[in-house]
Symmetry: C2
Subunit: 300 residues, 2 copies
């Protein structure tokens, strides 16, 4: 997990005295390279992926990197080590970066955010763990927003140690070799002395995944709507019926024929409530394309 960053040793040994409040990670170098280039140059997803492949940062079949599952596998390992039970991949929320457009990155910048493929692991109520891996808006002032290119970084918040962050090369033969050598040395020491096994008990004993629909978050919502009066009122109405408030709105000038973008930053809401509202919004005649929804992480 995370190539040269010794995050497993940190979670399992160095922070053994902590309860983990949250772990936030940029865990896939390919996705981060693509999003970084999109942010730096304004280019769209397809040419950025093309560039990453030419430079050897993306595999010929980049599916697992792009669709979020490579990062999700690592997040599941980290969450399992941090909380002591194996998480079921079917119970976490995973989305990739294919749906991020140059326009989204521009709107996010205007709102004071960067878009990263972020793994979010949080302790919730009643031993429930929230895990998601998806394109996420991060405040530009947060150190994770400055992690660029193929680098990985993981921010860990422990109840005793407080905030900490680990940064390094997340892939490549040399950084990975550095970690493998450390593992071999540990295994060689264990040959002489069988150490306590870091086993896990069954899923139900120590905790469970928070159901995806119950996870609460702020959201970035981009719609394509008709350019006429009253549209914002209809959208706000549909959100309001689900008890969801709006934090801010960007409505740029018309660009693409009759449909124009409408970007909303949405207040804390359960994902299920948000999905219900999106169902109503999609059905409105003034909405011309499927809504684009990203999580916003404020690290509170």
């Amino acid at each position: 997990v995370a190539g040269g960053i010794p995050i497993i040793k940190v979670v399992r040994e160095a922070f053994v005295g902590n309860q983990f409040e949250s772990i936030h990670g940029i865990l896939n170098g390919t996705s981060n390279y693509i999003l970084t280039r999109m942010t730096e140059t304004g280019m769209d997803f397809a040419p950025a992926l093309d560039e990453a492949q030419k430079l050897g940062y993306a595999e010929a079949d980049p599916a697992l990197d792009i669709n979020g599952w490579d990062a999700a596998h690592k997040a599941i390992i980290l969450a399992s080590l941090a909380y002591g039970f194996w998480l079921d991949p079917a119970q976490i929320s995973v989305a990739g970066i294919e749906g991020v457009t140059a326009a989204d990155i521009r709107f996010a910048d205007e709102l004071g955010y960067r878009i990263k493929l972020l793994a979010t692991i949080k302790a919730g109520p009643e031993r429930q763990i929230e895990v998601r891996v998806c394109p996420t808006l991060i405040p530009q002032t947060h150190v994770l927003a400055s992690v660029n290119g193929v680098f990985n970084a993981i921010a860990v918040r422990g109840d005793v140690v407080g905030e900490s962050l680990f940064y390094g090369r997340g892939a490549g033969q040399d950084p990975t070799a550095s970690s493998v050598i450390a593992d071999l040395v540990e295994a060689a020491l264990a040959l002489e002395v069988p150490r306590a096994c870091y086993g896990f008990t069954s899923h139900d004993l120590y905790g469970r995944c928070l159901p995806v629909g119950e996870a609460v978050s702020k959201y970035y919502l981009r719609l394509a709507v008709e350019d006429r009066p009253g549209v914002l009122a209809q959208i706000a109405g549909a959100l309001g019926e689900s008890g969801i408030g709006i934090l801010s709105v960007i409505q740029p000038e018309g660009l693409e024929g009759e449909a124009i973008p409408l970007v909303l930053m949405v207040h804390d809401a359960a994902y299920s409530a948000m999905q219900a509202a999106l169902g109503k919004i999609s059905a409105l005649p003034c909405v011309k394309a499927p809504p684009v929804l990203f999580h916003v992480e404020s690290f509170s």
Copy 2:
């Protein structure tokens, strides 16, 4: 070392497959808090120290924090673990932040730098290790420049793992307790299984400190000079006689009576050559106060 940051475990275990090319650390939270406040507000050293004491970030007797030796003790431990022999404190270069003025921070900012109390540990030629702890100009674009307040951070460059960085709370009872708990767990495991001792051999077998005079660095030099033509030529001449080039010059408008500040960024030079040049410069009649000299670290 560094409170909640598990840097000793990283150096000793996680990066066991690496030769360390360099370790750069912000290792004293008190100094970093003071320099951060001076940078944020433009205040001078004395009121910033006063504020740190009122907030409990500095001891009633803050000498070890302020004069660089608290950070130096930690740097010696890190260097000894990284290179396998104990370094002699008398052979390293240590300076504190008392000599940093609000003007220095302003000039550094103008030149694109932040001033930090930085521990620099570098592998040199022929098994010589360069270690210094002193106020150091860091490029604003480097991640260490953004480590503010009482936080600590350590950037490690290994020949296999490449660049990595570790960030967290460097002091305080909770972060330190987190590290002590991890140490106790490790000690408890070792009770059952006496593990290989991490001992060191004698000083001379594996390496030695690079003599302070031989260490090469760029420098920030601030002089108080007479405000008349020909002064810069005399200073540049004295540096040139020692074979030292100038990278850039700031000569602000006169502020303090007859003496005005003259700030020079000086090219790579051995510390002994720089001291020789400073001797000549101090003796010039146009130079009105002892020169102020800080290292500049470009992380190359």
